[in-house]
């Protein structure tokens, strides 16, 4: 049986099993959207599914959806669904630009510029 590819060691949970086969979050989470665990999320973390516990722990410090995907070693689409579900439940808060299609406004660009100048 050891030659069966299904038995070869892999991730503890198959990516698409984690999200019940859904790969598209109902929310348009940007790849750079920032995720922070709420105090409610911290309280309930112990009751969450394993991968959501991992997200809750990671996002005590603000992290992007991209970082969550990389940290969990799952494709972006999977990370989006997991984060979207947690946001629905109030376990995490998500920060992103109000309009995903729009470039940052002047005020934000100015902040980026002054930040880069001081780097």
């Amino acid at each position: 049986m050891s030659t069966d590819p299904a038995n070869t060691p892999g991730p503890v949970v198959r990516p698409y099993a984690m999200t019940g086969g859904r790969t598209r979050s109902r929310y348009e989470l940007a790849i750079e959207a920032l995720v922070v665990t709420t105090s409610f999320g911290e309280e309930r973390a112990i009751q969450l599914a394993l991968e959501q516990q991992t997200i809750a722990a990671m996002c005590r410090q603000v992290r992007s959806v991209a970082e969550i995907a990389a940290g969990l070693r799952v494709p972006l689409g999977v990370a989006r669904v997991l984060v979207g579900d947690m946001a629905d439940e109030g376990y995490v808060r998500v920060h992103q630009q109000p309009d995903r299609d729009e470039a940052p406004d002047l005020a934000l660009l100015e902040r980026v510029l002054s930040g880069l100048r001081k780097l």
Binding site: P15, T23, Y27, E28, L29, A30, I31, E32, A33, L34, V36, T38, S39, F40, G41, V62, S64, A66, E67, A69, A70, G71, P75, L76, G77, A79, A87, D88, E89, G90, V92, R93, V94, H95, Q96, Q97, P98, D99, R100, D101, E102, A103, P104, D105, L106, A107, L108, L109, E110, R111, V112, L113, S114, G115, L116, R117, K118, L119
Partner: protein, 214 residues
């Protein structure tokens, strides 16, 4: 689309600092032009890789000609992060090198500050597709010319002519291995984006409403 969690359970945890704002810059260019190096040079975390799973349906014409087979391909993107002032977090995304994954960029470039196209002067033509892509979509970008050992020394105006980019388009030399050089390239791009946004607003004759929400 604005995002609001359905249940605001965060009342007891007021944070004085402003809400974090994510921003991103795309690092593009041909194969081996220095994209990963560029990201790694300024990132505060070791560059990470994220994968997007794609099926052949979304790949369009598949040059491997696997007719009828629905294959899943993953596209890997490098990215890095720089925490700037005022809880502004800048992400740098290195585009996948392969041409056929451009459709990925469409999603990636949404809402970006702009792009830096890295050019290896030994293979100028490799950067044409990236230049075309950002020009066609009116995405602010600049051209950063990498000087690799053994490459003939080009002047910037020669590269500009070869790439046929607008005279107003910034074009600079950049060594992706040097932090200061990379920082300057980022500054130059953000200034260019500011110019673009400012002139767009002047054309429209009204300031863009500041609608930023968390």
């Amino acid at each position: 689309m604005d995002y609001r969690p359905s249940r605001p359970h965060t009342v007891g945890r007021q944070i004085a600092s402003p809400a974090p704002s994510p921003v991103k810059i795309i690092i593009a260019g041909g194969f081996g032009a220095g994209k990963t190096t560029f990201v790694g040079t300024v990132s505060e975390i070791p560059p990470l890789t994220t994968e997007a799973a794609l099926t052949s349906a979304s790949l369009g014409i598949d040059d491997t000609s696997q007719v009828g087979a629905k294959t899943t391909t993953t596209v890997a993107m490098d990215f890095g992060r720089i925490t700037l002032l005022d809880s502004v977090i800048l992400y740098l995304f290195g585009t996948p090198g392969q041409d056929r994954f451009w459709f990925m960029w469409d999603e990636l470039v949404l809402g970006a500050i702009g792009a830096i196209v890295l050019v290896d002067t030994r293979r100028l033509a490799d950067s044409f597709p990236a230049v075309d892509y950002f020009e066609e979509r009116d995405i602010p970008f600049l051209v950063a010319v990498n000087r690799f050992e053994g490459a003939r020394e080009y002047r910037l105006d020669e590269v500009r002519n070869a790439l046929d980019v607008d005279p107003r388009r910034p074009i600079i030399f950049c060594d992706a291995r040097r932090r200061e050089s990379v920082r300057q390239a980022l500054v130059a791009l953000v200034r260019h984006s500011l110019d673009v946004v400012t002139s767009e607003e002047a054309q429209r004759g009204l300031p863009r409403a500041n609608t930023r929400v968390d």
